[in-house]
């Protein structure tokens, strides 16, 4: 029990000492997770909308695959990404393995189905009605797309933050493709895992607190400006 309390004390000391290594790890984590969430949003939102509002043969099977990918184990995605990026793999010539770029690629693959699935689900239920209504009011394709994005704004933001949450909290994929190299590819989650293995609980707890704080701030912003707003409409 004592080591847990000591761990918390040490954690706050570490946080407020603004240790350069800790700060570097935090910034790299944020950079990798924000980048991958951004790419996942660019890919996942239009595809989710398109899938949601289009009726085609095999849509059910596609949606089942999509929902399966939403819960795909990060370590498996890390493994497949590594196979493709490894020196002997199809993209080995780009020498991306064990770089932040490889981590961004793996996390983008991990987050895209999450973003796409959430947007797809909402677009399937309310998106079709929005498209039909837009059509009856004379909206062309461009206006309809803008209308859909505006109407699905809340859902897109929720998808984005859920995706970011998945990216920043996963350890398996970034560990495999990043390698947890000190000062280069070490991020918060790999740092925690490593310190736990080494028995340095205070350092691990410190990083855990930072990770949870970032998560809390992100969700608070979302709730205050987006979800709270949506709930108000649903009173």
């Amino acid at each position: 029990m004592e080591y847990i309390i000591t761990g918390f004390v040490e954690a706050f000391r570490l946080i407020f000492s603004f240790d350069p290594e800790i700060m570097g790890i935090v910034f790299l984590s944020l950079y990798v997770s924000f980048s991958s969430t951004l790419y996942a949003t660019i890919i996942g939102v239009p595809l989710g909308i398109l899938l949601g509002i289009t009726n085609f043969r095999g849509k059910r099977i596609v949606s089942r695959f999509l929902y399966t990918f939403m819960s795909f184990p990060p370590v498996v995605i890390g493994l497949f990404t590594a196979l493709f990026l490894a020196r002997s793999g199809p993209f080995g010539q780009f020498q991306l393995m064990y770089t932040p770029s490889a981590m961004i690629i793996a996390q983008t693959i991990l987050v895209t189905p999450v973003v796409m699935g959430i947007v797809f689900n909402q677009a399937s239920t309310s998106g079709y009605n929005v498209v039909q209504t837009g059509k009856t009011l004379g909206a062309g394709k461009g206006h309809t797309l803008l209308l859909l994005i505006a109407e699905l704004k809340g859902t897109i933001m929720i998808a984005l933050v859920t995706g970011f949450g998945r990216a920043i909290s996963e350890v398996g994929a970034v560990m495999i493709v990043g390698g947890n190299i000190r000062g280069f590819t070490r991020v918060m989650t790999t740092f925690i895992a490593m310190n736990n293995n080494m028995g340095q609980y205070s350092t691990a707890i410190a990083m855990g607190i930072i990770l949870m704080t970032i998560s809390f701030i992100t969700n608070s912003i979302l709730y205050k400006y987006i979800i709270g707003d949506i709930n108000e409409y649903r009173d």
Partner: protein, 247 residues
């Protein structure tokens, strides 16, 4: 705008929900009149209306807009509103203004038109409310105001006055009759309210199980000897003389 249907059929998963190939294989909805579509639930009324509004494709047949085939090119000056309208997550004012905005009307013009509609439908007090928070009746009035904002040539209404109070029904009927007279608007309306149908419609089309049993002047329906129509009318009307039937 005149609308004509030719041999329309619609099949969903091996079930034919609309079959206008025998009786009334060519329905004609004349410009500048109010046309009612009536019939029991599941008779194909909404399917027929959605096909004419270009929202779904028929399995076979065609729809002519002023004589021109238009299944793949439905004119933009027709609109459709249902009893469960999809309003956008923005204010009532912005909802009504939406069709005008996408038609690039000036701000002053939009303000004038929307303000007039808000007054006409007595929804000025809720113009800044979010449309997602409205009651059923307010939603239907907002949807109808939005549909009328850009002065369409054809207005399709699927049970526009279902579940709303008599005062609002009167208000909405007055708005339709006014536009029929002043703008020559063609209105095609689905209603379960037979007295409303006789009150405002110039013609009536009666559908049953996807087929048409009657299409013609409103007053002609009451004289029909078809047992299904007869039962439908008897159940809905206490006495024929209770209602102002046009002749």
């Amino acid at each position: 705008m005149n609308i004509e249907t030719k041999n329309l059929t619609k099949t969903y998963k091996d079930t034919r929900v609309l079959n206008l190939t025998q009786e009334c294989n060519a329905l004609f909805f004349e410009s500048g009149k109010i046309h009612g579509i009536i019939g029991p639930n599941g008779s194909g009324k909404t399917t027929l209306m959605k096909i004419m509004a270009g929202l779904i494709s028929p399995s076979d047949g065609d729809v002519l807009y002023d004589g021109r085939p238009g299944i793949n090119d439905v004119p933009k000056d027709i609109t459709y509103s249902s009893h469960r309208p999809t309003l956008f997550s923005r204010t009532v004012f912005e909802n009504i203004a939406y069709p005008l905005k996408i038609r690039k009307r000036s701000k002053a013009e939009i303000h004038t038109i929307v303000s007039e509609l808000l007054d006409e439908f007595k929804i000025s007090a809720i113009q800044t409310h979010n449309a997602k928070k409205l009651s059923g009746g307010e939603s239907q009035k907002t949807a109808m105001a939005r549909a009328l904002s850009f002065s369409p040539k054809v207005l399709f209404l699927d049970e526009p006055t279902a579940n709303i109070d008599p005062k609002s029904v009167k208000l909405m009927e007055a708005a339709l009759l006014k536009r029929k007279k002043s703008q020559g608007l063609t209105i095609i309306i689905i209603t379960h309210n037979l007295s409303q149908a006789f009150r405002i419609c110039d013609t009536l089309t009666f559908l049953n199980q996807g087929t048409c049993l009657y299409s013609g002047p409103s007053h002609g329906l009451i004289e029909s000897v078809d047992p299904i129509i007869h039962d439908f009318i008897s159940f809905n009307l206490l006495k024929k003389s209770d209602f102002p039937i046009k002749s």
